[in-house]
Symmetry: C2
Subunit: 284 residues, 2 copies
Amino acid sequence: MSFFSRLETRARQIDSLLCVGLDPHSSDLAEDTAGAARDFCLRMVEATADVAAAYKPNAAFFEVLGPAGCAALQEVIAAVPQDIPMILDAKRGDIASTADAYARSAFYTYGAAAVTVNPYLGYDSLQPFLEDPERGVFLLCKTSNPGAGDLQDLWVSGEGVEPASMPLFQHVARLAQTWNQADNLGLVVGATQPESLRLVRLVAPDLWILAPGVGAQGGDLSAALRHGLRPDGLGMLLPVSRGISRSRNMRQAAFDLRQAVNVQRQALAAHLHPPSAHSDQGAG
Amino acid sequence: MSFFSRLETRARQIDSLLCVGLDPHSSDLAEDTAGAARDFCLRMVEATADVAAAYKPNAAFFEVLGPAGCAALQEVIAAVPQDIPMILDAKRGDIASTADAYARSAFYTYGAAAVTVNPYLGYDSLQPFLEDPERGVFLLCKTSNPGAGDLQDLWVSGEGVEPASMPLFQHVARLAQTWNQADNLGLVVGATQPESLRLVRLVAPDLWILAPGVGAQGGDLSAALRHGLRPDGLGMLLPVSRGISRSRNMRQAAFDLRQAVNVQRQALAAHLHPPSAHSDQGAG
């Protein structure tokens, strides 16, 4: 079963596009130890397992805690129920035997089902991550930080850029659409930029998009879903971390977020579903 | 003392541009364990400490060994003499508090003096790595793998690309030249592409370049040095790993490599040194 088949099964089953980010920031921990990081994540998993379409542990917050932090990451991934995909947010990118080692690390040393990867080194840097048909990759495409434009927004032309010049991030999306031969390659596009989501969807109609940045604001969420969802009402995964971990009732916060997303999905369903197709696939 | 001052002091002191790559590939280890990886690296360090301008452990080969591998990386870094800079080849790239955690991990959890970083997320993704004036960054610019052209060779135009369109990797080099405000930012450019080195040097005359790919071939080496060295005969760091680790006599192999580089540097010295300047700085 391909990674995205597995993700779609899970998303339909619990009617959720919510991806729970497991980010044990030192500022959120009672003490700056690997044990505290592990317990923080395990509490989040316990509170949200009924509405999490996926989990996304952030490798950096474990790495900074040293070998014990790496062991905590292994424990957290092992503790998540088998039917919930684990996306290791590691943003790796290297070549040849090094890329191969990073892929083996993410998928087999740590047990992740998918991993975020950087596109700067090109196709062969992704290949080791795409070799296992049951594992997935989310390729960085458009981020929402201040410096994202330094490279991602530049207009590019040259070999393989067709039919005309386009922003670099859109070219990355187009490459990803062609590179996705085994239903195991998606994209990372910030949810705060509906116009970027629109440009990405023009060239990558099929791919799943991991879209960080959705807050509690209905406006942003609605625009993001309008431009990012596929006609089947799926194709977007919305990571939320502090919006859950910092609430008094994590379980309730996660349920509320799923509901907020589904209300918008239902409002959009008429536009997303061309009357002639997908009529048997509910958007929520 | 800035990272590159420290590196220059070391390079002049031992008259070497050699960077010894510590890459414990599983295929090179007697057994696939963290202890074997650590011992493999410690043997390399012991054999080469007299001619290594720097060491470059590759994070992937430690990570894939799990928590014990991370502990081995700590031990290897701690075992290297204090006056030899350690460059952690990790190719990280993330934003905000995550980038901050990666920087703290590389510099303080693991004790590296410098780290390789990916440019795709833009300036603020580098900032946490540049904050400590004694630590350094090598920014990925032009790699030598088959897919490097997928993004790096595209022609870019747009805000900040001046005076005219240029390949993306050259724009990255130009950005790095302007971002290097504290003598702590260099570049990674494959040594197998002399023309890329030339284009990089046009826009980044001052920066240190970590240039992987130099083999035993004098031809490649000469062309790489001709286009990459600064007028002071420094500014390039040449990583070699298997060329040392797989030789019967690692110490001799490292001495031979230093010598091969220095013969070429001396042959180039007349061209590199404009008669009016730097006349007191020998190229070796």
